[in-house]
């Protein structure tokens, strides 16, 4: 293990690799700070461009963008009251009021240091948990893998907004359906091509991923053009910024609790920093002695908690992606696409066969956070300018970069048309309020699900029973079932209690 670790250190601590991480972090910070441009978008833009790079350079670069873009969201949240990324939604609640009171540097400092500590601790969790989980996963058979795919979809569905659980499943089935298109390798027959020869090779994942995310987002971003957003004036002072580090360390329990929440939520498939920061904020409020002061921009922990949690989710989200090949959130989904683009299939075998690459990911993660912290000290004035860049200059540039990226994957226009087609699909889903993440997960996990199901049935001579009788597979399916049933039962009980109270109150009122 130490050999692999040293190999990882040696690979990352090369001048070009360090420069790539630094540029990735800087680019990520700028993109992440622009409201509406998420970390997913930042990675989506870059993944195809890394195609001709060496994996040892591409992965650290993407890690830099990933860390930078998630962290960059805090600037928009604090100075505009608009989160740069959904991961910073909880930061708005107290960060903006704090900045509005003339304490913008303090708010930024608290958020930056909390992000960095949360992220670094989640990196430690990644290093400790991922190899252990990979070892366990080596004993998994096709039954367990198929059960994991079911668990992923049940997780997404149960975490969906109220009334959208079935829609999330429908979205997953759209993705699974799209994954069927093309030549079936086992039987040699074409499926769902409707006679179009260009569909015989199926849909390439990356144009689909980029289209589903980028086009709806860029189209809706045009609504903000011409709107004058009030950016708070910041009298940035480095000394004051640095002094907030002590304040962050002083809130160690809030920091640790939020980091823990972030890691756990990050590990859950399909749920990421977008949820963890809100949960951490509400937990900090519940455990505070002065909850009434939350939302007023007074307490350091109200900024520290959401930021520590959203960065901690990043390490958490990488755990299932690296060990099981199941992404923790949309950004790691893009990272998964990047790995696949370079011919590397994440999963337990990655740890056995490409341990050096795993360690490159680990080391690059820590280095990216170190660069992130360092750059933030000097980048705050630049990111403040970035959030004020008129959107009409950004949108066409991003669309063109996406187009070039999609083309450069296979040098064929078909992928570019797929990018547009999937973009339109994503836009329609956005209008009818159907989540897009399950579509992508379905598209990526569909072939894996089919392969594992076929293997499981072949080994079990056509019997479905081992899915339930094998302990791990049975347990995963049970958890999947509970994750679907329990929220519905709790919701029903809550409604029933509310109804009873309402009936009692109205009876008392009439008496």
């Amino acid at each position: 293990m130490y050999d692999l670790m040293l190999a990882g250190v040696a690979a990352v601590f090369q001048p070009w690799t360090l420069l790539a991480i630094m540029l990735g972090v800087a680019g990520g910070l700028v993109i992440g700070s622009i409201p509406g441009l998420t970390s997913t978008m930042a990675i989506a833009l870059l993944v195809p461009l890394t195609y001709s790079m060496k994996l040892e350079l591409a992965i650290p670069l993407l890690m830099g963008v990933y860390c930078g873009a998630i962290s960059g969201g805090l600037v928009g949240a604090i100075l505009l009251n608009i989160p740069g990324t959904p991961a910073s939604a909880g930061t708005c609640l107290d960060g903006f009021p704090m900045a509005a009171k003339g304490q913008a540097t303090r708010a930024l400092g608290l958020a930056v240091y909390a992000s960095m500590i949360g992220g670094t601790l989640s990196g430690l969790a990644l290093v400790l948990i991922a190899p252990l989980l990979a070892k366990v996963a080596l004993s998994f058979g096709p039954w367990e893998y198929f059960a994991l795919v079911i668990f992923t979809f049940s997780c997404i569905s149960s975490m969906s907004a109220k009334g959208r659980a079935v829609k999330a499943f429908m979205a997953a089935f759209i993705g699974l359906g799209l994954s069927l298109v093309g030549l079936d390798e086992a039987s040699g027959q074409t499926r769902l091509t409707f006679g179009f020869t260009s569909l015989e090779s199926g849909f390439y994942e990356l144009p689909a991923l980029i289209g589903l995310y980028a086009i709806p987002q860029l189209l809706t971003d045009t609504d903000g053009i011409g709107r004058r957003e009030k950016v708070l004036q910041v009298n940035y002072r480095l000394r004051l910024f640095v002094s907030t580090f002590g304040e962050v360390i002083g809130r160690k329990w809030d920091l640790l609790r939020s980091t823990f929440i972030g890691i756990v939520i990050g590990i859950l498939p399909g749920v990421g920093p977008g949820l963890s920061n809100i949960v951490a904020y509400s937990q900090a409020k519940n455990s505070s002695r002065t909850p009434e002061k939350f939302g007023q921009g007074e307490l350091a922990e109200s900024v520290i908690s959401p930021e520590a949690a959203n960065n901690a989710s990043m390490g958490g989200a990488l755990i299932p992606m690296l060990t099981l090949g199941i992404p923790g959130d949309a950004s790691t989904l893009m990272m998964l696409g990047a790995f696949m683009l370079h011919g590397i299939d994440p999963g337990p075998l990655l740890f056995r066969d490409h341990g050096d690459i795993v360690w490159i990911v680990f080391i690059a993660f820590f280095v990216a956070f170190a660069f992130c912290t360092l750059l933030y000290h000097f980048f705050i004035p630049i990111t403040i300018k970035a959030i004020a860049v008129p959107r009409q200059f950004v949108i066409p540039v991003l669309l063109i970069l996406c187009t070039v990226g999609c083309y450069s994957l296979n040098n064929r226009m078909f992928d570019v048309y797929c990018f547009l087609g999937f973009g339109l699909l994503g836009y329609v889903l956005h209008i009818v309020k159907v989540p897009v993440l399950p579509v992508i997960l379905g598209l990526i996990l569909g072939p894996m699900a089919e392969e594992q199901l076929s293997l499981a049935l072949a080994f079990g001579q056509g019997s479905f029973l081992p899915f339930l009788t094998r302990p791990i597979s049975g347990f995963i399916l049970l958890v999947a079932l509970l994750s679907l049933v329990l929220p519905a039962v709790f919701g029903w009980r809550k409604r029933l209690t509310a109804q009873r109270i309402h009936t009692k109150e109205s009876q008392n009122g009439t008496v």
């Binding site: 089935f173 759209i174 359906g177 189209l219 008129p390 450069s408 226009m413 836009y427």
Partner: protein
């Protein structure tokens, strides 16, 4: 949203039924232990089931007062700037194969910046030109020179 949800469910079921007609045409291979149709049939069957559940759920549930109506949501979908961008981008993709990538990109970038801008001032023309030139330079240097990639 009720009408939207119903329309979406209907369209969803219809698409899956069309897909089912294709899947039934798949032939079985005698030597295969697992049917070639099994997984596609599971996906399509599950999809249709979900579509039906969603449709029933929409019909049975009470409409939410805060949810946007059918007209509002589609009015938002066809907002002027969104449609301009979508139209220009579609034309751009078609134009790439006819006039070449660099020309099409230059025109698309410049025109889109101006079309999306709230007001066209002389300064915005200069900035649009600068952004276009900068982007083309970046693409050329980064992709063609450094990454040795092909342009469309």
């Amino acid at each position: 949203m009720r009408v939207n949800d119903l329309l979406f469910s209907l369209l969803f079921i219809l698409l899956f039924v069309v897909a089912a007609t294709q899947i039934t045409q798949l032939s079985e291979i005698a030597s295969a232990t697992v049917s070639a149709r099994l997984f596609p049939e599971m996906v399509i069957g599950g999809g249709i089931l979900m579509g039906v559940i969603e449709m029933i759920r929409t019909l049975v549930s009470r409409p939410r007062k805060d949810a946007p109506g059918f007209r509002e949501s589609w009015k938002e979908a066809f907002l002027r700037r969104r449609m301009y961008l979508l139209g220009l981008f579609t034309v751009y993709l078609i134009a790439i194969t006819h006039v070449g990538f660099l020309v099409a990109t230059a025109v698309f970038c410049f025109v889109t910046i101006l079309v999306l801008a709230p007001r066209i001032k002389p300064a915005s023309l200069v900035i649009a030109l600068a952004v276009t030139a900068g982007l083309l330079g970046l693409i050329y240097v980064l992709l063609v020179v450094y990454l040795k990639a092909f342009l469309p």
